[in-house]
Amino acid sequence: MSERACDTCLARSWLVGRLAGHLEAARGRVDQVLALEDDALIVAIGGREKARLEREFETLDVDEVRRRAGGAGVDTVCVCDPGYPSGLRALPAPPAVLYVRGRADLLLGEAVAIVGSRKASMYGLDVARSLGRELAVAGLTVVSGMAHGIDSAAHAGALDAGMPTVAVLPGPANRPYPAGKRGLHRRIVAQGVAVSEIVPGTNVWRWMFPARNRIIAALAAMTVVVEAGERSGSLVTARLAHAIGRPVGAVPGRVTTPQAKGSNLLLASGGASVVLGAQDVLDHLFGAGERTAGPARPPAPAELRPLLDAIAEGHETAAALARAGFEPDRGLAALAELELGGFVRRGAGGRFRIAP
């Protein structure tokens, strides 16, 4: 376990963790506050605790912070380290220390962020998952926030392909957040990396979410929004990416889906380029046709093609297919065959969807 972070950076990082509660009160201007020097930070938000905070900061035992990180099984990389991801230096207030659980080297690779709604539609989840898979196969690192919905689907897509992925957590890197994503966290840590600027042992506060989003935007060469509601946090990520000059893409969503309103508006306003698939991302990053997404899936067997077409036309359930003229017993078997071949997916309510 390497504990490479320097004393100054660790002290700064401790201070941010110590001030977590105070920062909550300054939530509206967290990015400005975090850009302040240590002393100024204490003065700005320390309030009545100012004197005590100064004393604690003076007498801080940095090794104690190191031990805390070591105990939580996380490595530390500070901004003074050559191994610190250079993308983050573009931020007005880059995190002093990154706490890393898993393969720290992944933070240095070429990365794409896939973010979106927590209450995504099935369509959105499908798209995020296949984007994650295809971009990972194309050699890019998929970065996201391990939230419910799109974020998790993007991570899972990369993991499906046997590729690593980077999860930037709002709280400490050793603590799965949301707690229900324990299983995903375990897989990410084993196969990829979970990273955070928050010192282990700190509680999760609301200001940490936009703060986490700035790390996602800065780690990635491009940010892709899959589905975002009108007030989604992923729009914040898109804005932060914009602010540091990184390209933003968005996947068009159904006009009737409220969860896609924000991302559709982003496209309409010209704030993002249209992403229809992994190839669009690769073209945008490396120039048209420079790199290609993995080979296309082999076509479905000829005898299953009519069924596949019927599903594509919206006959999504066994009952609908029976109506379209497919015998129930032969139709059921054919559906299973399509599913095994990866051509369709079965979702809730027995609805089959074309696999993207």
């Binding site: 927590r118 209450k119 995504a120 539609s121 099935m122 369509y123 989840l125 499908d126 998952r129 419910h148 919905g149 998790s152 689907a153 991570h155 899972a156 993991l159 229900g180 994503k181 299983g183 995903l184 897989r187 159904r254 009737t256 889906t257 409220p258 999504e316 359930t317 066994a318 009952a319 609908a320 029976a322 109506r323 129930p328 017993d329 032969r330 139709g331 059921l332 078997a333 054919a334 559906l335 299973a336 065959e337 599913e339 095994l340 990866g342 997916r345 079965r346 979702g347 809730a348 309510g349 027995g350 609805r351 969807r353």
Partner: protein, 518 residues
């Protein structure tokens, strides 16, 4: 009648303990003293109140109620006695002890039934169990309320005296002829609910629902538990109600067992139950209501559904504790209820049918209509998951039929489906005899390995399903069981590629959740 000598009479009757009869002796002792009538022997409130019914019934039947000290004992004393079924035995005991009916005539009899104040013998639940007890105890004759005579007569080797009053019972004891059994029909002794009778729900009433009908037949043929998934009002309950009509007819032994249980629960009119039970408890039911319990223990819905179908609508709404309680009945085919020193066993071999919405709002997957987030879906599926879902071999999606489908003629009828099911069951019986399972749905992992034979193409499809993560290890067994049933229905010696694929398409979604990430 005044005498200082004690007079003693003894009458055999039976208490219902759970669903089993227990021999009880009613001893009546009459001796000189101030008029008093006490009943001892761990009776409940209904037994205590029996004193007043017996006194009035005796007087109103033209007998004398002895104005002396009367003590009645229900033996054995440790057994809790419940209900008014001891009235007739108590009354005849009093009459015998006071010499108004011949006491020695009672030796060959068991007596059972509730009395009204006027001396009529009222319909009382549990007559079949009592008759079984009487035969086991080696008694020759049984006096029961007339409404229950035909039911009691289902037990061979007993002479049944179906009487409608205490007076008539006394006449039988005095040597009168046994009254003939009541006629079949006339609401008395008919065989109720014969399978195929016109009142039964039939598959011929179903329009549309092609895929669910196929799945229903598979479930019935293999005895598989199944789960319906679909929005409210699509026909899940309607389909479930028709499952008993395509299950093979009950054997006589099964029918008698069901009749005994339903008679004790006071559920059925008279005679032999002919149709397999269908029980659909509401989702607010408690664990005790579902699997049996209470004090004294009573059979729950799981036991009332014995040899039939237990239908749980809105499965996700049931209390967790109720669903968990179904674990033992599903595993063992019986439920054991322990009260104090005793354990009661209720049989629970039923086919479990569940129905649920696909998601909390019911419109799962319909992109813009469903507004359930991942967390909602997760919560929903967590409510459903667990030991219960493990036992569900089939998942059937049910959709509202379209207008043209509603106008189309019926696709099948219960009679035809029942025939196919019976043939498939016959093949299973042939294969599984001596292996502890009666149908494919009851095969354990070992039996699956031993009996399910796959064609090569089917085998490789199964391997593929496992590799791409569409199946869990447990789900694999479920699919194999179902595939074997499909093969049995189509008369294939080995499971073909198509059989296996059909089974895969009817598998539970919980086996591999491809939509929700990790």
């Amino acid at each position: 009648m005044r005498t200082l000598d004690a007079m003693l009479a003894r009458v055999a009757t039976f208490a219902i303990d759970g669903i089993d009869p227990r021999h009880v002796w009613v001893e009546v002792d009459i001796r000189g003293g101030l008029p008093a009538f006490t009943i001892v022997g761990l009776g409940d409130a209904a037994v205590r109140e029996s004193r007043d019914r017996v006194r009035s019934a005796i007087s109103n039947s033209g007998f004398d109620f002895p104005q002396t000290r009367i003590t009645a004992n229900l033996a054995p004393a440790f057994l809790r006695k419940v209900g008014p079924g001891f009235d007739a035995a108590l009354a005849l005991g009093v009459l015998a002890a006071s010499g108004q009916v011949p006491a020695d005539a009672l030796d060959a009899y068991a007596v059972f039934g509730e009395l009204s104040l006027s001396g009529d013998l009222r319909d009382s639940p549990g007559a079949l169990a009592v008759a079984e007890g009487a035969r086991r105890a080696g008694l020759e004759r049984l006096i029961v309320p007339r409404e229950r005579a035909r039911e009691a007569a289902l037990v061979g080797g007993l002479e049944i005296a179906g009487v409608s009053s205490l007076r008539a019972a006394a006449e039988v004891l005095a040597g009168g002829a046994l009254p003939p059994l009541p006629e079949v029909g006339a609401g008395l002794g008919g065989i109720s609910g014969v399978a195929g009778a016109t009142s039964e729900p039939d598959l011929a009433d179903v329009r549309g629902h092609a895929a669910p009908l196929l799945a229903l037949e598979i479930a019935a043929a293999g005895g598989h538990n199944l789960l319906f998934e679909g929005a409210p009002g699509t026909g899940k309950t309607m389909l479930a109600r028709r499952i008993p009509s395509i299950l093979p007819a009950m054997s006589r032994a099964e029918a008698i067992e069901v009749t005994r249980i339903h008679s004790i629960a006071g559920l059925h009119a008279a005679g032999l139950v002919g149709a397999r039970p269908f029980r659909a408890p509401h989702h607010t039911i408690s664990a005790a209501g579902l699997v049996g319990g209470g004090s004294p223990p009573r059979p729950g819905e799981a036991t009332l559904a014995h040899h039939g179908v237990l239908f749980l609508d809105e499965l996700a709404e049931f209390q967790r504790s109720s669903l968990d309680a179904l674990r033992q009945p599903l595993e063992d085919g019986c439920v054991t209820i322990v009260r104090g020193q005793r354990a009661l066993v209720f049989p629970t071999r039923f086919m479990l049918v569940g129905a649920t919405n696909p998601c909390p709002c019911g419109f799962a997957g319909v992109g813009d209509r469903c507004n359930c987030g991942e967390a909602d879906l997760r919560r929903h599926s967590r409510r459903l998951s667990g030991p219960l879902l493990d036992r569900m071999d089939l998942l059937i999606n049910v959709e509202r039929p379209t207008e043209p489908e509603l106008r189309a003629p019926a696709q099948t009828s219960s009679a035809r489906a029942r025939e196919r099911v019976a043939r498939a069951r016959e093949r299973q019986r042939f294969r599984l005899t001596g292996h502890g399972a009666r149908c494919n749905g009851e095969m354990d992992a070992r039996a699956v390995r031993r009996h399910v034979r796959l064609e090569d193409a089917a085998d490789s499809a199964l391997a593929q399903a496992y590799v791409v993560g569409a199946l869990s290890a447990r789900g694999r067994h479920r699919v194999l069981r179902v595939a074997q049933t499909i093969a049995d229905l189509s008369g294939h010696g080995r499971v073909t590629h198509a059989d296996l694929l059909t089974a895969l398409s009817l598998r539970q979604r919980g086996d591999a959740d491809t939509t929700l990430a990790a």
